[in-house]
Symmetry: C2
Subunit: 198 residues, 2 copies
């Protein structure tokens, strides 16, 4: 019933959100209509504002409303270190950890020849220009530890070497508070191979 | 970081959706911006269309785009039976079960004197007019089996009696496929008290 009409359309469109299935979308639909509609309108208007105003930072390709993002326009940051990540969400995670004071470079993906994603799609030409400038001391590779993420990190370390820039990879191992009993064997193998002297 | 700006606003506004916390909202925000923005725009526009066009059905108070809902405008339905539910979502659930061919009446709540919700807020005057018309044979009470839902059902059965209309309450008991071992004792008590001859 009523799966035509605007009600059905709203349920269908809410399913576009990640992690939202038909049942959740139905609950959201009734919630949006039943409770204060002003908040629902504000949500819709914010989505429109965001997709209209959010662009890529001209320097690091993360999301920003301006030409340069918060980090790139901050004079306090160490411009000689660049951390390469796959997504803008990764930038957020690292910023929230307050662990890095350099600049970022967002690939918006990873090398994946089968999907037709090569160096050009990831803006690597732009990154190479920075590396060639002679100003960069370290390239920190924080791509995900998937097969493609590792391959991308390897490719980038090669690129850094060509320009005599020191490249490093973030450590992979047992997460803080993690119990060995529950850690998968791939992570454990990484943790053993990457052991450091104490 | 970046919790000001339109990005932070979008995360905050998405938290308005039921079941969405800060972390999920953040993931949704990046998803909306990173993937095809046309779908994101359509979602926002559908929300706006829905809150602008969806009104209460003039007869049964469920959600509809027109003056009368699908059920009330369907000449095939049994107009002598009315099923009273708390929310439009309940109408959907019952319609999806294809178990009832009569009309509905949506309270948009339940009697709750402490919250200032009395008969007026639930549109009971409108329901009483229907009962008084002499055309109604049965009033099926499908309010939730909470304390307030039960009290509302009791109040409505009283109202039906005053107008010599037969009132019934949907059965509460062990759900189909439910194993006794996992059923709470309140439901089990209901199931025993409501046992029928076979």
């Amino acid at each position: 019933m009523q799966t035509k009409g605007v009600l059905g359309q709203l349920i269908k469109d809410l399913c576009y959100l990640p992690g939202v299935g038909a049942k959740t979308a139905q609950r959201m639909t009734f919630y949006l209509l039943q409770h204060d509609r002003k908040s629902a309108r504000r949500l819709a208007e914010t989505i429109l504002a965001a997709i209209d105003t959010i662009v890529y930072c001209r320097q690091c390709r993360t999301f920003t409303e301006n030409e340069l993002c918060e980090m790139c326009s901050n004079k306090q940051r160490d411009t000689s270190r660049i951390c390469v990540v796959e997504n803008p969400a990764d930038v957020w995670s690292i910023e929230q950890a307050r662990v890095f004071n350099g600049l970022f470079f967002v690939l918006h993906g990873r090398l994946s020849p089968l999907d037709g994603i090569g160096p050009e799609e990831l803006g690597l030409e732009q990154l190479e220009k920075k590396l060639a400038s002679g100003h960069i001391k370290e390239l920190i590779l924080a791509t995900n530890s998937t097969v493609e993420g590792e391959a991308t990190a390897y490719y980038l370390s090669d690129l850094a070497q060509q320009h005599h820039v020191h490249a490093s990879r973030i450590a992979h191992g047992v997460p803080m508070g993690g119990e060995l009993e529950y850690i998968d064997s791939g992570t454990l193998a990484h943790a053993f191979n990457g052991r450091t002297k104490i």
